[in-house]
Symmetry: C2
Subunit: 634 residues, 2 copies
């Protein structure tokens, strides 16, 4: 095991067209519009606690909207995304907005440090009585992530100080002591936030509290969720989800070997577990993460890196149960998978983690944000009858800020450094500065990724420097070529998905990687019932789909891709500023000779046609229409 | 148009093994056990109104079960099924049970004739205030059907008289008069019951009331459901289903041309419309039924004759939207489709109606009842991951008595008579007596249907009689042969699915029909996304499915049926007293060389295997397991 440190997004200037456009959209449109939506839908109003509690107060004004117990978290996530935006460029409006929120929070905070606006505003006497369902620590975690990001972006400590007081209160309340609650949140999140806090404060108590929550989770008997239910007079057996698998609290985390329950909770928890494995050198946590990683990526993940087929638990069901039209595949879950993948990658630089990170980034996560930056998907199905539409806002707006904080910090996923190592995980135009050992190194990538796999990397160390450059060869790549200063470099001996180039690097050394990007067919494991007899098209990291709007003469449900067809890539500069389409000779099952039959003994006849596919992440940006990722193969 | 009259089930003695076994099971196990369940779950208790209302009473004791507003209907449907049972054989226990229920109902009935135990017991001041949602007239309809069946089986009028008083009250309340409500039930049912009542009483007012409800439905403006919502202080816009399509009240019935909304409501309504078309000679209703029939059978029906893919409305969605694993396909909807099909068939003896009637009877309806007669399916999916199980009872037990009343009266679907016409719609061993014109005719079928298509029909008129025998040649049949007294009879010139044999019939005349029953492949219309690249096996009227339990070495999701494979039939005397299985050479997609991949560029390799299919209606009788109707075709 070797430890790597990601190069922060603040050190990576995104220059390639693909991410530059998404980033600009998020900075200029998404983040400001999200503040407007938070105001319009009463989330900001919910923070304006006007009278001190207790006694129990009348609910605060909320513009007639139903309020949600988890709204603090959405505001926290917006602060985080907006702070990332500030790291790109100063914006006095955003700073004023965050400072204003900070003042509300500071005013709402109770003398003992407690700070949850739902409970303070509505039912302060019930705080900490229902960790299982009521998201108190989850909200604290997101506010904490926001406070950390704002501090890192601006150096202003006021919100961070407020949150540290709250964390001190939480640390008083929860822990192994006889007068402490031995509890943890039903929705994991605070654990990973506390580790982020530890990175800022270096205070061991913050790391210890994260570890406490992880280590205590699912311990029996008695189960904490049972204890607290009985204490508030509820019957634990009447838990609406029936099993604590829903929040991965059904057994101690180190005994878990199946990815179950609510997908976002699972991913946030695994992220924290991988963090703790790194910070504490805890091999048992790392090994558990590896088992869970294998489980999800080999049996329970869509080809888009979407997670969780089921709406009823927003999560996992059975192995290989991956229905396309009813896929839940919440945007948040794919974003959180990226967080986890990054932690795993930095524990142990293995390409399997970077492959999934990339797969989620370009597909299941990115699909959650519209081209205009102000519409969203909560669910990301792989097939649509035309009834799915992007929405402007959602009663549970978690996905909106998850995708904006992801894109606003996307540069942070490109590089890691280790001891005398620079690892390049993702490709795309950017220019980055980092310390490798004690040396300042500037790295510049020129690439039209993901449209092209030709990547030129210039290495500019401050002075001549000896270190290993680990260059990821994506799992999807075949026949890549590599040149160092024009000289071929053999890529045959890869080390778990990375080519290691150990040498003395001089200023201006040039690494040229060419990853051919033919259109590839993918087939699903034969246990995946939904994809039997079907094929999916992929090019580079992008999964493709067929949208009705591009195939007006061929109802998408009647298209068949012949096994012998050779799909090809075709640049379309007019679509969304330029995308590569995939076109292919296809067959169209004819409905002409069916008359009034719905079923008949003879299969449909087929006529030749052409089909056009677009990257999955752009789907539904030209209005709702029928869509298909997995095409029947003729 | 020609009018036919079905030969009642009381005139048809079911002798063939297939239906004899199902009938015996229903008579000896299902109907008695349903009475026990009605008692156990509080449905009978809910009828025991102990104190006269008003004033508003405390809810009656209900054994701690949550009660349902529609429970009267379930009791009514049980009375109907149990009365059919009595028509087969007297049973003093059942008679005492029905008489006891009759006394409770008579005692509960209000002086003005009103009789709904939910409202009488709980909120009498609210009666008739919410026809849209509260099932009052629906309950009346089912109690009425029960009362009619009991009267017909036993000649006892007490329950019928109680219900006629209630009908008189309903006729006072609803109608075109200035002091009447211009309403109709949100859940159609009373319309068809009133027509049954008219057949018994011959009182025109009963037919007129049925016609009123049908003719008034969906008239605008103002819409009755809006009017009554406003009257009770509700906002009509807050209707939970949003559109009155849910109950087919979105427009006048004669303007409806798409089958929409709740499937059972739709089928019950169309049944009544077809009845009224016959009784009133109303061509506009018949034409509307024909349009709706074509719509549902050519675009919105499963191959099992299951109806309604969606759980959210228990009904219809979009054309060709027929997902298999999430298919709702409520048992009641297929039963009700049989009712409608029979009405259409008797309006206009066209084989398309008999084909669908048979398809529903042997597949989507029959699957709702377990082999042991005491377990049920509410939903009838065409694919299962093993999570579907038959239940002993259901919070909404509508399907249980729908399937028992169907089986208990199955003989009533075999024959119809017209003026000098005998039409044979279904095959299977039975012996029937009927009047054709003024002549008594005995007809006997000997057949091992549906396992074999060889049918021997003996015609025994009282005296020599001239009439046309209309013999259905099922839509699925190819190459049938027919002999009359040993002489070949050409079947080429069929009249809409029926061979007409007009002759003088003598005692002992013998008709021998041979319907070859090869195993047939069926393909779905190319617009059906869920079935692309898939094939379904059918033999005679039976749809087949693959169950895991029969294919233990071949996970059903990995089976592929090669296009060239020749499935064959194989009798299995050990399975459920004898069924014909279908066996075929198949391919098993190999998972061996997938290692840990979930997706890969190469399709699965396949190895040869054998597969065994069983009739769909028997599935899940050996415990929950994986099941597939539509097989991927290799």
């Amino acid at each position: 095991m070797r430890r790597y440190t990601p190069v922060r997004f603040t050190q990576v200037s995104v220059e390639g067209e693909f991410w530059r456009e998404r980033l600009e959209t998020v900075l200029t449109r998404t983040i400001p519009s999200q503040h407007e939506q938070l105001e319009r839908h009463g989330l900001l109003e919910s923070l304006r606690i006007r009278q001190p509690p207790p006694p129990l107060r009348i609910p605060v004004s909320n513009h007639g909207m139903s309020t949600q117990v988890f709204w603090d978290s959405d505001v926290g996530k917006w602060i985080e995304a907006a702070s990332y935006s500030l790291a790109h460029r100063r914006d006095t409006t955003i700073e004023a907005q965050i400072d204003e929120i900070t003042e509300w929070l500071a005013k709402a905070q109770l003398p003992d440090g407690y700070l949850n606006c739902w409970y303070i505003g509505r039912e302060i006497d019930k705080r900490w009585t229902n960790l299982r369902d009521r998201h108190e620590l989850y909200c604290a975690g997101h506010l904490l992530e926001g406070a950390i990001a704002y501090y890192q972006a601006t150096g202003r400590r006021r919100l961070l100080d407020v949150m540290c007081r709250y964390v001190d209160h939480i640390a008083d309340m929860f822990g192994p002591g006889p007068n402490q609650r031995h509890g943890y949140c039903g929705h994991q999140e605070i654990e990973l936030a506390l580790i982020k806090l530890y990175h800022v404060t270096k205070e061991r108590k913050h790391l210890d509290l994260a570890a406490y929550f992880i280590n205590e989770r699912g311990n029996r008997p008695p189960h904490y969720f049972d204890v607290e239910a009985l204490a508030r007079g509820d019957d634990p057996k009447k838990y609406w989800f029936k099993t604590y698998e829903y929040g991965q609290a059904h057994k101690p985390v180190r005994e878990q070997d199946k990815v179950v329950g609510h997908a976002v909770r699972a991913m946030y928890m695994y992220t924290a577990m991988a963090d703790l494995a790194a910070e504490l050198g805890d091999d048992t946590l790392q090994r558990t993460c590896e088992i869970l990683w294998k489980d999800v990526t080999t049996k329970r993940m869509y080809v888009t890196a979407g997670l969780g087929p089921s709406a009823s638990n927003e999560g996992f069901t059975q192995d290989y149960d991956l229905p396309n039209d009813t896929a839940y595949a919440e945007t948040c879950a794919s974003v959180a998978l990226i967080f986890w993948a990054q932690r795993m990658l930095n524990l142990d630089c293995d390409g399997v983690y970077a492959d999934v990170l990339e797969q989620a980034l370009y597909n299941g996560a990115l699909s959650g944000l519209s081209r205009d930056g102000t519409h969203y998907f909560y669910q990301n199905p792989l097939e649509s009858d035309g009834s799915h539409r992007r929405w402007e806002w959602h009663p549970c707006p978690c996905c909106t800020m998850n995708v904006s904080r992801l894109v606003a910090s996307v540069g942070g996923h490109f590089y890691s450094t280790g001891e005398d190592i620079l690892a390049v995980h993702l490709y795309g135009g950017n220019s980055a500065r980092m310390m490798i050992g004690s040396r300042d190194v500037h790295v510049r990538q020129e690439a039209d990724y993901p449209w092209s796999g030709k990547v030129k990397i210039t290495i500019d160390p401050e002075t001549v420097a000896e270190f290993a450059l680990k260059l990821r060869i994506p799992g999807w790549a075949r026949g890549e070529t590599l040149r160092i200063n024009g000289q071929p470099f053999d890529t045959a001996s890869k080390n778990r998905g990375y080519v290691d180039i150990s040498r003395r690097w001089n200023r201006g050394d040039m690494v040229e990687l060419d990853l051919p990007m033919p259109v590839e067919r993918l087939y699903a494991h034969p246990n995946v019932r939904a994809d039997a007899g079907r094929v999916c098209l992929k090019r580079g990291p992008l999964v493709y789909c067929i949208e009705e709007i591009d195939n007006p003469n061929a109802p998408v449900e009647r298209l068949r891709l012949p096994h012998a067809a050779q799909p090809s890539a075709m640049e379309d500069k007019d679509l969304f500023g330029g995308v590569v389409r995939v076109v292919a000779d296809a067959e169209l099952a004819s409905a002409d000779d069916w008359d009034d039959a719905l079923y008949r003994p003879a299969p449909s006849t087929a006529e030749p046609t052409r089909m056009t596919a677009v990257p999955y992440y752009v789907w539904n940006n030209r209005g709702p229409n029928r869509m298909l990722v997995w095409l029947p193969e003729a």
